[in-house]
């Protein structure tokens, strides 16, 4: 469509956010109030009112911030025991202080900050954080809680400023601030050692700086413009660094930026060079800077966590070699596999373990009654195997033979090494060494696969013991490298691939994992292995340090492990899980602490008045928004004031609605376990929408009834009643956050009696 068709109105619509920066915006924002004041006392000199305005503006902001801090820090030390997920994140904070390596499905920044806060406040990392309910006793926990509460407190002023900038209306901003301050859910979530306050802090910071830089658009490349743009980038890195949910705000900023660039690109008064500069600035600040910061957090993470710890097993052998205390650390082993080498073979999929066999046979009725082959997560003598040529049983370690390396595509036999380590070189004792063997019998658990057994005596078996060893992608040339080569074992007779199904065997298999030979040749990690330990006296040892993965490789691997970990968090059947549609209606809360009537109970639940108002507002917004949009599309001529207000509604409200949508609907597509607290970022946006919507609607109402003498009062009265209503509901529900003792809510004696409005709330 040629630009002319839109007409003048469209042109002016296209630049809604082109307001002013910083203090100017502040002054502009106060204009309504000022205009009102001026109207009432026309004699007052103009400069005085402006100064009064600025002071009032700062005072309001200070009030909002103060109130937010006061509510968040009130009774922060209660209860003095571990609440809910503090057991995880507190523990991970301790890991940072103790520098032991661990694994978590979230990126490290949040936990690192918690650890740092604990470190600075004198927590020594000795508390075990075993389970919820454990008393902290003499351990210092207030530093970590205080840090989270500190970040959580900033949400309210941030939301206040964002709404102020979007709507240019103090009352809308105040309403938003009140909704968030008085929401028991936000309050509860900000008071404990959790990732959520940190995450929400960064999300809101990104949103605020994005809005601010939008309103600087009329002065591109000025200092405030650069400041807000780069601050957006920093906050994005922060949000993503705490949880992957941060991707949603990145998406929002990305969409906003694309729209912005699209607009600039269509502005024919700008040369292409200028547009190119704009593009470069955004690429620098919104892509390069966040990526650099995000990578930096990982660099710090790997640097700090240098000791072996509970997370080792999740990572590949090469990765483990980095960790001091791990047996691969500083080890030196021969680099290339040769015949006669004693090796352990590890599955590449995490939490599967090493190829293992033991004397016990498969029980009657389950395949052939031969020796079991399993995978086992722990290091054990029974994980040792010897690589032999398929056709000779001669001792390849005989010094008279030259060293022969195993090559990609060779046909080999894997002989189980059962004798303890000290006897390894006394070959005459190998009495029961069986070969890795497979045949056309169905596997014990996965019926479509073939069974894998140990077969043969002293290495003499049959042709079913022959395997072809193949290197995936053949990247490393012909020889097979320890740790680095990804290998597959292909059974020669049946053509199937050695793999582990990951299913736990019953008691007869000692609850180790099933090993099968899969006829499906698709490359999955379940059927790819690598060699971890390697002993061969004829070969020179090399230090593993040269094999150490580079930083990009570590980064990539830890992301793969995190993503797999995340998608591995599947709900089990017959388990109560929270569904995304429960969340906006505040259907069910989360128990933070305490169950029985004698306990100190904290229950994470949104303030129902706030939440249901939010829900109503979304519906109202969609209705009023579409009415206005249709009216405009039909070419209705709106009076100037209504046009201005509907711009606020469509632009500012639309921005926030987009935020809500992006932070809520993707959860419907997620397969992992979901919890109530996942909704809180979306709830922040929804509260901002409520603020903007009610303020605009009340103003429209007042305008529509302008002939009526009390019309002006409608707006003030409406906002005031909403503010007071919210505050009163907070008074009613505050025990949810600050803790309840005494009988449960069903009991008429309980302080919460009569407040259990839904049966599904259990407090």
């Amino acid at each position: 469509m040629p630009p002319a068709t839109g007409g003048g109105l469209a042109e002016s619509e296209l630049r809604p956010r082109r307001g002013r920066c910083g203090p100017q915006a502040a002054r502009a924002a106060g204009r309504d109030v000022a205009a009102e004041a001026v109207a009432r006392s026309p004699k007052r000199p103009a400069w005085g009112s402006r100064r009064f305005e600025a002071v009032g503006w700062w005072a309001l902001l200070a009030l909002v911030t103060l109130l937010s801090f006061a509510t968040r820090f009130h009774r922060l030390d209660e209860p003095p025991h571990i609440c809910w997920d503090e057991t995880h994140f507190g523990k991970m904070g301790s890991y940072y202080i103790n520098r032991t390596f661990f694994f978590d499905v979230h990126p490290p920044l949040g936990k690192m900050l918690i650890g740092l806060a604990g470190y600075l406040s004198g927590y020594d990392g000795t508390f075990l954080f075993q389970k919820p309910g454990d008393k902290y006793e003499h351990h210092s926990y207030m530093g970590m809680r205080g840090f989270c509460a500190f970040l959580g407190s900033w949400l309210v002023p941030f939301a206040y400023l964002t709404v102020l900038d979007l709507s240019k209306s103090l009352s809308a901003a105040l309403l938003t601030a009140a909704l968030l301050t008085f929401d028991t859910g936000c309050l509860t979530l900000s008071q404990y050692i959790l990732l959520d306050p940190i995450l929400m802090f960064f999300i809101m910071a990104a949103m605020l700086s994005m809005v601010k830089y939008n309103s600087c658009a009329d002065r591109p490349f000025s200092a405030p413009w650069w400041f807000w743009l780069s601050l957006t980038g920093v906050s994005l890195a922060g949000a993503l660094g705490v949880k992957f949910v941060g991707l949603f705000i990145i998406l929002q900023v990305g969409l906003n930026t694309i729209a912005d660039l699209w607009y600039l690109f269509g502005d024919l008064s700008l040369s292409l060079v200028t547009v190119g500069k704009h593009l470069t600035a955004r690429v620098l600040c919104l892509i390069v800077l966040p990526l650099a910061l995000y990578t930096a957090t990982f660099a710090v993470h790997f640097m700090v966590l240098s000791k072996s710890g509970p997370g080792d097993g999740f990572f590949s052998s090469a990765f483990q070699a980095r960790l001091s205390g791990n047996n691969l650390h500083n080890a030196s082993i021969p680099e290339h596999l040769a015949y006669g080498s004693v090796i352990t073979v590890k599955n590449l999929r995490m939490a599967i373990g090493y190829l293992h066999s033991h004397r016990h046979l498969y029980p009657e009725g389950i395949g052939a009654r031969q020796q079991q082959v399993t995978t086992y997560l722990h290091k054990d003598y029974n994980n040792l195997w010897i690589i032999k040529k398929h056709n000779t049983n001669s001792d390849p370690l005989d010094p008279s033979f030259p060293v022969e390396f195993v090559r990609h595509g060779d046909i080999i036999r894997l002989e189980h090494k059962e004798c303890p380590l000290k006897k390894i070189w006394r070959w005459e004792q190998k009495e029961t060494s069986r070969n890795l063997h497979s045949h056309y019998h169905e596997a014990p658990m996965t019926r479509k696969h073939y069974q894998v057994t140990g077969y043969g005596i002293n290495g003499t078996g049959d042709s079913n013991d022959f395997w072809r060893i193949e290197v995936v992608n053949r990247k490393f040339g012909n020889r097979i490298k320890v740790l680095r080569s990804r290998i597959r074992f292909i059974h020669l007779v049946t053509g199937c691939v050695l793999g582990s199904s990951g299913k736990v065997l019953p008691k007869w298999g000692w609850e180790q994992l099933e090993v099968t030979c899969t006829p499906y040749l698709k490359e999955t990690l379940n059927s790819i292995w690598n060699v971890e330990d390697h002993i061969n006296p004829k070969l020179p040892n090399i230090s593993l340090d040269v094999l150490q993965p580079s930083f990009p490789e570590i980064l990539l691997e830890s992301h793969m492990v995190m993503i797999r970990g995340n998608s591995g968090l599947k709900p089990k059947d017959n388990e109560f899980t929270s569904k995304p549609w429960h969340w906006p209606i505040n259907y069910q809360g989360l128990r933070f602490s305490g169950v029985n009537d004698t306990d100190f109970r904290v229950y994470l639940l949104g303030n129902p008045v706030v939440w249901w108002l939010n829900l109503l507002s979304i519906a109202l917004y969609l209705l009023s928004g579409s009415i206005i949009a249709v009216a405009m599309q039909r070419g209705a001529r709106l009076p100037a004031e209504v046009a201005g207000l509907s711009q606020v509604l469509l632009r500012g409200g639309g921005q926030v609605l987009l935020g809500w949508t992006l932070h809520y609907f993707p959860f419907f597509l997620m397969g992992r376990v979901l919890y109530f607290h996942h909704y809180f970022p979306a709830m922040l946006f929804s509260s901002m929408l409520t603020g903007i919507l009610w303020d605009t609607l009340l103003r429209l109402c007042a305008w529509g009834l302008a002939s009526w003498p009390l019309a002006r009062g409608i707006h003030v009265a409406g906002i005031l009643s909403l503010l007071l209503g919210t505050a009163y509901s907070f008074y009613l529900f505050h025990p949810l956050a600050y803790g309840m003792v005494g009988p449960l809510a069903q009991d008429p004696q309980s302080p919460m009696a009569g407040l259990r409005w839904l049966d599904s709330w259990d407090f």
């Binding site: 630009p3 699209w262 039909r634 070419g635």
Partner: protein, 725 residues
């Protein structure tokens, strides 16, 4: 009136001979030797069993799609007089003589054949040239994967047919809109759009993608209509209303109609009954109705009942107990109460009977008049055969140590008192004084002492529990969950106080009196819900593939292999078409981006009408590809190459559009244009050649030597079956 007397009656017929020729070739390619092979090919084994169910009018449940698709296939069987007597047990099994193979495969083949002329018309309606339209149709004609899929008793070709029909009729409607809104043909095409959309959804849920696309395009057009200020408000309103009715109301009504017809057709009880609720089963002829007919409605103190778990996962089962006790010490060293086991048992058994007892009285018979049990009443549940009552206590359950063990109480005199009082909660009650009703009421049993809830944990007990399912008392029960809810299935008023007599009574079948009619909407919603909630677990298949492999045709599916020779049928596409389709898509995307950017800087490369044509063609064809392809990346179910075929047809439609665009707008001179045309002809002949080379694998009519088969394996990842001798 008598005009025909004055003027001669003249019938003028415009016959587009190329359309006729295309239809003829389409029919020929799809119907040629349709009954070959006379054996079960690939997924025919899956759809066939449902056709048999239809023929025998037995109820079944299939989670793969709504019933319309199965009904279309069953129609073929009905027309051919199929009696449903065939055991669909393995791929490759020879059809017996009572199976009308030709008519079973006819409808999908017809749908596949008609897609060819429809492709022609769609491109024509997009206002591209006759030549481009012919190109699209000819590509459809020779695409091997489409031929294979159409010639068998499978649903994809029918789905593609309705997808194309929806797009075509929307385009016809849209073109009517310009000159004759609210005319007869306008109404016809608008309604047909809605009908085709709902048929597509009715065949497979995948049809939703195309429906969404059509809805989206219609919404954008309606939005433009709103902005048209030459139309009056009333007129705009009528336009919007007509669209809403045709594109939203009609599809919903039709979709319900499919289920209505389905439930009328399959009214007999069958092997899938157990998945459904008791009330649903009672509505099937010969199902639960046979047992429950005439049983008393209201449960009273003294009633003998069987209790079925509402959740029914992993298998539907009934609360059960038997003589054996929990082992004193479990394998992991934890101890138990050593009392009588309580389990959930997936088969009908005399040990599933329980007696509802009033805790204040001793008698186990129904008094006269019966005293009904209401919501909130305290009850004891006495096991019929052992007369022990249901009990739970603070002992860890065998497999779920966080929950309480549930047992039938045995007094060992070890100061462990019986805790056998349960409070009845009717979950779906209308009021708090509701009576507990057979089948209809869903109830929870809340333990009075510990407020634990009777729950099916879903775990299988080890051998000592005969691999039955574990029952626990859940202490932290949050909200409603099916595993804690039970309903009475079989019910009778107990009459014998004496144990021996009672045992005899329990063994005798329940005989009783009410027939229950569920409304259609209740049956529909239950059936639909179960279909969506059913998850088949085993997700590994030899020929499953991932969406990334589809675009480049890195995978194939072996459909059938001749039992003796090496003749075989594969789902294998025409690689030239697949690759050039993807290329065309990329070219379309790049060109569009280029044009968009240039237009933004006020450089108009294309005249306005050419630009609008280009955009609409892209929205429907490239958009159709995207909506039918990209969602698969989010799906976790097992995927196969044939899932890509709907997306492929849209890609094929896009191909000639892009070619014509290049020739019209990017070739600057006549010479360039001629060279380009020659290239296109060469390219098309190579596609024909490939199609012909792969023909033995498409029709499976020729046995190739191992050497020839090896030569056909153009990609390492293709799995072509070569017999070892």
């Amino acid at each position: 009136m008598w005009g025909f007397l004055k003027r001669p009656v003249v019938v003028t017929a415009d016959i587009n001979l190329s359309l006729v020729a295309l239809t003829g070739m389409g029919l020929l390619s799809r119907l040629w030797r349709l009954t070959y092979p006379r054996a079960v090919v690939f997924d025919e084994v899956y759809y066939g069993q449902y056709i048999s169910f239809y023929m025998k009018q037995i109820f079944f449940l299939d989670d793969s799609g709504p019933p319309f698709g199965h009904m279309v296939l069953a129609l073929g069987g009905y027309l051919g007089g199929f009696d449903g007597n065939f055991l669909w047990n393995r791929i490759g099994a020879e059809y017996s003589s009572n199976v009308p193979v030709w008519s079973l495969r006819l409808l999908p083949a017809l749908a596949g054949a008609l897609s060819v002329p429809m492709a022609y018309q769609i491109v024509l309606e997009l206002h591209f040239s006759h030549c481009a339209a012919m190109g699209a149709a000819l590509l459809m004609l020779i695409e091997n994967a489409l031929i294979t899929q159409s010639r068998l008793m499978l649903l994809e070709s029918v789905l593609i047919f309705f997808n194309l029909l929806a797009v075509l009729s929307y385009l016809k409607f849209f073109n009517c809109q310009k000159h004759s809104p609210f005319s007869l043909s306008w109404w016809f095409w608008l309604t047909l759009t809605g009908v085709a959309c709902s048929c597509a959804v009715g065949i497979k849920y995948m049809g939703v993608f195309t429906y969404v696309l059509v809805l989206g395009v219609a919404a954008v057009h309606a939005w433009h209509l709103l902005g048209d200020q030459t139309l009056s408000n009333v007129c705009v309103f009528c336009h919007l209303l007509a669209r809403a009715v045709a594109l939203l109301v009609i599809p919903v009504v039709l979709y319900l109609l499919f289920f209505y017809v389905h439930l009328i057709l399959v009214f007999r009880s069958g092997p899938h009954d157990q998945i459904m609720s008791s009330a649903f089963q009672a509505s099937l002829e010969g199902g639960l109705a046979r047992i429950t007919q005439g049983q008393p409605l209201e449960v009273a103190f003294g009633s003998q009942v069987t209790l079925r778990n509402v959740f029914g996962k992993p298998v539907p089962c009934w609360l059960h107990s038997h003589q054996d006790t929990y082992p004193m010490i479990y394998e992991n060293g934890r101890g138990s109460s050593h009392q009588q086991q309580v389990t959930c048992y997936p088969f009908k058994d005399v040990n599933n009977w329980w007696i509802v007892k009033d805790p204040r009285r001793h008698q186990l018979v129904v008094s006269s008049p019966p005293r009904p049990v209401r919501h909130g009443d305290m009850v004891q549940l006495v096991h019929g055969m052992t007369t022990r009552s249901l009990n739970t206590h603070d002992v860890a359950a065998p497999l779920s140590p966080h929950s309480q063990e549930v047992s039938c109480y045995i007094d060992y005199n070890i100061s462990m008192p019986a805790q056998n009082l349960w409070r009845l909660e009717i979950v779906n009650r209308g009021s708090d004084t509701d009576v507990w009703k057979t089948i209809l009421s869903e109830v929870r049993f809340v333990h009075v002492n510990t407020s634990a809830v009777l729950k099916l944990s879903g775990a299988h007990l080890p051998d000592w529990g005969y691999r039955q399912l574990e029952i626990v008392g859940e202490k932290l029960s949050r909200g409603y969950h099916g595993s804690t809810v039970w309903n009475v299935e079989e019910h009778r008023y107990g009459a014998s106080q004496e144990q021996r007599e009672r045992e005899r009574e329990l063994h005798s079948p329940a005989q009783v009196d009410v027939s229950r009619n569920l409304s259609f909407m209740a049956r529909f919603s239950e059936l639909q819900w179960r279909m969506l909630a059913l998850r088949s677990d085993d997700s590994e298949h030899k020929y499953s593939s991932s969406p990334l492999e589809w675009v480049t045709l890195d995978t194939n599916i072996a459909y059938w292999l001749h039992p003796r020779t090496s003749a075989q049928i594969h789902l294998l596409g025409n690689i030239v078409i697949w690759v050039s389709g993807s290329l065309a898509l990329a070219i379309y995307a790049l060109l569009s981006l280029w044009y968009l950017l240039r237009r933004r800087r006020n450089v108009h490369d294309l005249p306005q009408d050419a630009w609008l044509r280009w955009v609409l063609a892209g929205a429907l064809c490239a958009g159709g590809w995207a909506v039918n392809y990209l969602p698969f990346f989010l799906m976790e179910k097992t995927l196969f190459l044939y899932h890509y075929l709907p997306a492929l047809t849209f890609q094929i439609l896009l191909l000639p559009v892009v070619l014509q665009h290049i020739s019209d707008h990017l070739c600057r001179s006549q010479l360039q244009r001629s060279i380009f045309s020659a290239l296109v002809v060469a390219w098309y002949s190579s596609a024909c050649h490939v199609s012909n080379t792969l023909r033995p694998l498409t029709y499976g009519d020729k046995s190739l030597s191992p050497h020839e088969l090896k030569a056909l394996r153009w990609k390492d990842s293709w799995d072509i079956l070569i017999r070892k001798h």
